[in-house]
Symmetry: C2
Subunit: 149 residues, 2 copies
């Protein structure tokens, strides 16, 4: 007897691994298997709008993957905040075109996972272009601030 | 007998309220009373570098508050992810100079709190300028994407 088994993630780390794997493979169904099927999930892509709800998030990844270019995405310098049902990974993403010796873009990301009845799922992904400390210091005024723009 | 009593936050919401209150009052000691005293706390101000550790985060708020301008900061459109020891608030911050009829800047923020032995404390604040959906759609190419810059 054939059954459709939903992929479950036993830990937040498994879900995080599946997220970056799906991202690199530009695989929409694998990506959306990581996200909680909820109207309250939140996704902010670098310099993109704030998207709320599974369908809006799905649409955004579909558009990103439709570009055709597969990316190499490596998460590093992870800080972990682990609870029994909510877990957060704050990382620096090193993003570059796959297979090319191209310069790496750095992105700050805060990933939030929740333990659902279907295992650990992503409920929030907040990504923004990373500013290098040196560059920030070279600017006037020097401190990083809540600029009004 | 006089004792120095550390302010405790009984819930993540109390800590979140104290964070925005300290922010508006530009009160450094009140702000840092919200943060966990840890080398692993993470803070990304809008268009700023990624700061890690209590001292780096303290320094950044000191610089922001040293500017002298007090801001009105209202968090809205909150999405909550609540665990027993880790909680997340994803909000839109409406930031404007206090007391002025100035235009409001919109900032996306993801705030992470952890239950410590000293109550709920902030362990991560990730803020980035918000892009309006209309504006994103008017751009070419239209989808929000992982742009390499």
């Amino acid at each position: 007897m054939k059954q459709t088994v939903k992929k479950m993630f036993a830990t937040a780390d498994e879900a995080e691994g599946a997220f970056y794997d799906a991202f690199e493979r530009a695989n929409l169904s694998a990506m959306m298997a990581v996200w909680a099927e909820s109207d309250d999930v939140v996704c902010v892509h670098p310099q993109g709008p704030r998207l709320v709800g599974f369908e809006a998030v799905r649409e955004s990844w579909m558009q990103i993957f439709a570009g055709g270019a597969t990316l190499r995405v490596r998460a590093s310098e992870q800080r972990r905040f682990d609870g029994s049902s909510v877990a957060v990974r704050a990382v620096i993403e090193r993003v570059s075109p796959a297979g090319e010796d191209a310069p790496v873009s750095l992105v700050c990301a805060t990933n939030v996972y929740e333990l659902t009845t279907n295992g650990w799922r992503m409920v929030s992904h907040h990504a923004s272009p990373m500013v290098e400390p040196q560059r920030a210091q070279a600017e006037e005024p020097p401190p990083p601030g809540y600029t009004l723009h």
